[in-house]
């Protein structure tokens, strides 16, 4: 794992990727700090992070797009398979390298509240609580990006899908207002989601039983519980969209609440996508 970590880290810092990622993150947070803290003279640094989080939509996919897709394109994945490295150590090594690239600008940002404190009252607990949530959310998005990169050998495709997925996640709370809140609409959405989950599982494992089982099982379960008690589905879809949003969890911290459930949620998302990436890598070994 350390070999992969060192290797990846050198690749990022030798190419422009790490610098572009860091520069964009610092620029956005810098603009936010100028607008809120300097011009509007607000002492809450957490607002800056909330403002700056939108930049993840673009920079995370740019950072993560090459991590596995490029290995596949250059056929260096065969080297990784033939070396005495487990798929988990490859994925984890790469993830830690990505996190390190992310931590460098974040370390610089972490000094901002202390600097502002020299010139006025800054409530540090919310500032650093939000910064911790900002870090975890970025980590979750990077895990998502790594997973998307493992699905294809085309970097551009990985980046494009990444931007789309993160953008939908960013707006999912606002979109939740407009989607159908009726029981039927929610049930239909769940039905489609079950099918998609089944298809994804099938794609990752090439296991008919698991893919169809989970997909059809969940679809059946949705239909059954809808026919039993349709009122349960009332407003379920918008509620789910609010719950699944990573960005809205950050807002909780920005509003001054250190929300442990959000921390657990971020960590679960990280684990889920790293696990899925390992499966995706293993799947290539099975299918050739």
């Amino acid at each position: 794992m350390m070999a992969v970590f060192r290797h990846e880290l050198r690749l990022y810092f030798q190419s422009l990727t790490a610098y572009v990622f860091g520069a964009f993150l610092l620029a956005f947070v810098g603009i936010g700090a100028m607008l809120y803290n300097l011009q509007a003279a607000v002492s809450n640094f957490e607002y800056v992070l909330s403002f700056g989080s939108v930049v993840f939509v673009v920079i995370v996919p740019i950072l993560t797009m090459r991590t596995l897709a490029e290995e596949r394109r250059q056929k260096t994945d065969q080297l990784l398979y033939s070396l005495p490295l487990s798929a988990a150590s490859v994925i984890l090594g790469k993830y830690l390298a990505l996190l390190t690239v992310y931590l460098v600008p974040l370390a610089i940002i972490s000094f901002y509240p202390l600097i502002f404190r020299q010139y006025g009252e800054v409530y540090l607990p919310t500032a650093y609580g939000s910064l911790a949530a900002f870090f975890l959310m970025g980590g979750a998005l990077i895990a998502l990006g790594e997973f998307l990169s493992s699905l294809t050998d085309n970097q551009g495709f990985a980046a494009g899908i990444g931007i789309a997925v993160i953008l939908v996640n960013y707006f999912s709370v606002s979109l939740a207002e407009y989607v159908s809140a009726t029981a039927l609409g929610s049930a239909a959405a769940l039905f489609v989601l079950s099918a998609l989950l089944g298809a994804l599982l099938y794609h990752l494992t090439q296991n008919d039983l698991l893919g169809y089982g989970v997909g059809l099982g969940l679809m059946g379960l949705t239909t059954l519980s809808y026919s039993l008690d349709s009122s349960r589905f009332e407003g379920l879809l918008p509620a789910m969209m609010r719950k699944l949003s990573l960005f809205s969890r950050l807002e909780t911290f920005v509003n001054g609440v250190f929300d442990l459930t959000a921390v657990v949620y971020f960590l679960s998302v990280i684990c889920f996508f790293l696990f899925a990436s390992v499966q995706s890598l293993e799947k290539r070994r099975y299918n050739g």
Binding site: L11, D77, L83, P84, R285, Y286, N287, G288
Partner: protein
Amino acid sequence: MIKVSHLTKYYGDHLAVDDLSFEISGGHVYGFLGPNGAGKSTTMNIITGCLAATSGTVLVDGHDIFEEPMEAKRCIGYLPEHPPLYLNETALEYLSFVGRAKGLKGAALSQQLDTVAAQTGIEGILDRRISSLSKGYRQRVGIAQALLADPKVIILDEPTVGLDPIQILEIRELIRQLGKTHTVIFSSHILSEVQALCDEIIMIAGGRLAAFDTPANLEQKLLGASQILLTTDAPQAALEKLLKNIPGITGITCAPQDGLLRGSLALNSAQVQPTLKGIYLAMKESPYILYALTAAKGSLEDVFIELTEGAEALPAEQEGGKSA
């Protein structure tokens, strides 16, 4: 050293490797020979753990590649068909990464790097980016990567493809050197190469084992079912009568040629000389003349064609599937 039992691999519905079994004792150079799409790369990818088999087992130095992949992979150095190189790195950076991934560090790593660089003759280009290297040097860097950490078995997939004649000779010499201290398995579809380098040949066709023997024995095998060709002015009936009592002849086929008769005799033994002598003496007693009398000596080429002919009818494997 390597034991492959009942290995089968399907790509979707396509059968690439069909119940392949063989055992390699070690300490020699083995040639993996077969026409394109015979399943060479697929088999090598499975042996090295890059690909999972549909069924069957592979033991590398006693370790099952599917059950104990780490232990098994530590015994193997592998150069795939496309050398897996990070083009933006220098050769040294690349080899350091592979060395670390194989568990080397510190002084052991730098000592190994020096050793493999000297073995493959790449000392001079270690600081150059791989993207700027010629194909021959890239191949060497790929081989150097396989040699790192001194694995017992070195597997090279078509190491000489796409190189110029001098580079090919250099790589062959390297394989010969490696064969003195390691078990080397390399694949090729070039017969002369395999014949020149290998102690034993594993011939596969259509995903099945066609032959596994020394080059000399393979030739001998063909010779065992060999032929004698003769040209004479005797009519067919007279020829058959003359040859009737000569031992070893199992069949005669004749065809007229330029006013003469050209016969080919199938033999049941590898001993050609007594039969040749018998034919000569019988013809000497007769009123006919022998214009030509030769034993058709089999070459490895014939063995190759003969053994792989049956499999040619099978659908050829796609290039993409093969290299994946």
